[in-house]
């Protein structure tokens, strides 16, 4: 009884007193906002980068665009995302004080490098015979892409793209470095407000876990739907 009482008091202090749960909720809002904007930016950048990477010269060698895309992907994958965030906040966009914007852009550019690989793999996974059939009928490369390859690649990339979004939700936990009050930072600050670390940190972890578990379940359902429609 004694023990249960002390646990409740800790929970009360961490979440209920002074409506503190509102802080977590707001933090979660910022986390999700950054993740969603970053995912959208990442899809745009990543798709462009994927097509750049797939572009070849007339002789079949990688084009200049492909080389540029490769450098971008290499640099993003080869540096810590915390540093990318700090560089964006303190150097590249130091005159911009909109944290959401800077964070969304940072993670969008970061995510784009991974999305590029997802999209590229999705396109390459479409049987070469599909392209050959399109070209043999006189369709040009663009028409073949738009009417035949991309619709089939879309099914390949949807699940890994959703997975990338799930990863982003966790990745954004570092935006506290540039002073944004996302879910992780709210929990972290709470530990010094109530002089107790366990409850707020575990609480935040549980919130992340529930959101990500829910999305993973949805992703599983989506994958099953896609697989079914394969042999329509």
């Amino acid at each position: 009884m004694e023990w249960l009482n002390s646990v409740w008091m800790k929970i009360e202090a961490a979440f209920i007193t002074k409506d503190r749960w509102m802080l977590y909720l707001k933090g979660l809002g910022i986390t999700m906002e950054v993740a969603i904007f970053a995912a959208l930016i990442g899809i745009v950048i990543g798709t462009v980068a994927a097509f750049m990477k797939l572009s070849v010269t007339r002789k079949g060698k990688p084009s200049i665009l492909a080389k540029i895309a490769n450098i971008y992907i290499d640099v993003i994958r080869g540096t810590p995302s915390v540093l990318q965030l700090l560089i964006m906040w303190f150097v590249v966009m130091k005159n911009c004080h909109n944290g959401i914007l800077v964070a969304s852009l940072t993670f969008g550019i970061n995510s784009g490098a991974y999305v590029a690989e997802i999209v590229r793999a999705g396109i390459l996974a479409v049987d070469k015979g599909q392209t050959e059939a399109g070209r043999s009928l006189g369709l040009n490369q663009f028409q073949t892409m738009v009417y035949i390859v991309i619709p089939q690649a879309f099914k390949n990339v949807l699940p890994p793209l959703c997975n990338e979004f799930i990863v982003l939700i966790k990745e954004t936990a570092i935006v506290g470095y540039v002073g944004m009050s996302d879910l992780t930072r709210v929990a972290n600050q709470m530990t010094s407000t109530i002089y107790e670390a366990f409850t707020p940190l575990i609480g935040a972890a549980v919130i992340y876990f529930i959101i990500i578990k829910l999305l993973t379940i949805l992703l599983g359902l989506l994958e099953r739907r896609l697989r079914k429609s394969d042999n329509r």
Binding site: D127, E132, A133, S136, L137, G138, L139, N140, Y147, R232
Partner: protein, 240 residues
Amino acid sequence: MITVRDLHKTFGDNKVLCAVNYHIHPGEKIVVVGPSGSGKSTFLRCLNLLERPTSGEILFDGQVITDPKADINKVRAQMGMVFQHFNLFNNLTIMQNITLAPTKLKLMGEEEAKENALKLLTRVGLVEKADAYPSSLSGGQKQRIAIVRSLAMNPKVMLFDEPTSALDPEMVGEVLEVMKELAESGMTMVVVTHEMGFAREVGTKVVFMDGGNIVEENTPVEFFANPQSPRLQEFLSKVL
């Protein structure tokens, strides 16, 4: 109709075609046979430039299509190609498979293309499959649709790359039947196949390829009755 002059094709250091010369007249049915790896597919794919020749010239209706300035898409629109693995567009219905190219290339309006497709589907006995997706068809049906898809472009010549090799034996006949009818209708055809019966019955010329070269060419009767080169004799002794 098609003239091939001194055609070479190499993949890396692998010389796949070596100085191939050939001429195809309108209305001819050229059947190409030869051992696996002899360059038959590569030869066929060079004709519509799915493979870029390393050197040499290909003329189609008097136009040098190997010229970098030639409009490949215009050329390909006049040459049908049927693949071993059908390559029907998986994301489209049979009707859409057939009408996609004619409508997108503005050769026909939507309605006209559909009417034409239905006519062709009737010809191969598959009208009821118009709204089905390729994955619901048998191999033989897929290949007949693939032929129809090419025919919908009103091509001047049809190229076939082992059209029956991926089929279960009981489906080979229905596809060969469609090809036979097509041949009777006067279509110019180049057919790579292992079906010697088809070569004998439908071919106007039979061509034997080996080691990246055309080793021998003759009328079907002479080709099978009087093979000249030892390599062809050996090949025929294996396949007949």
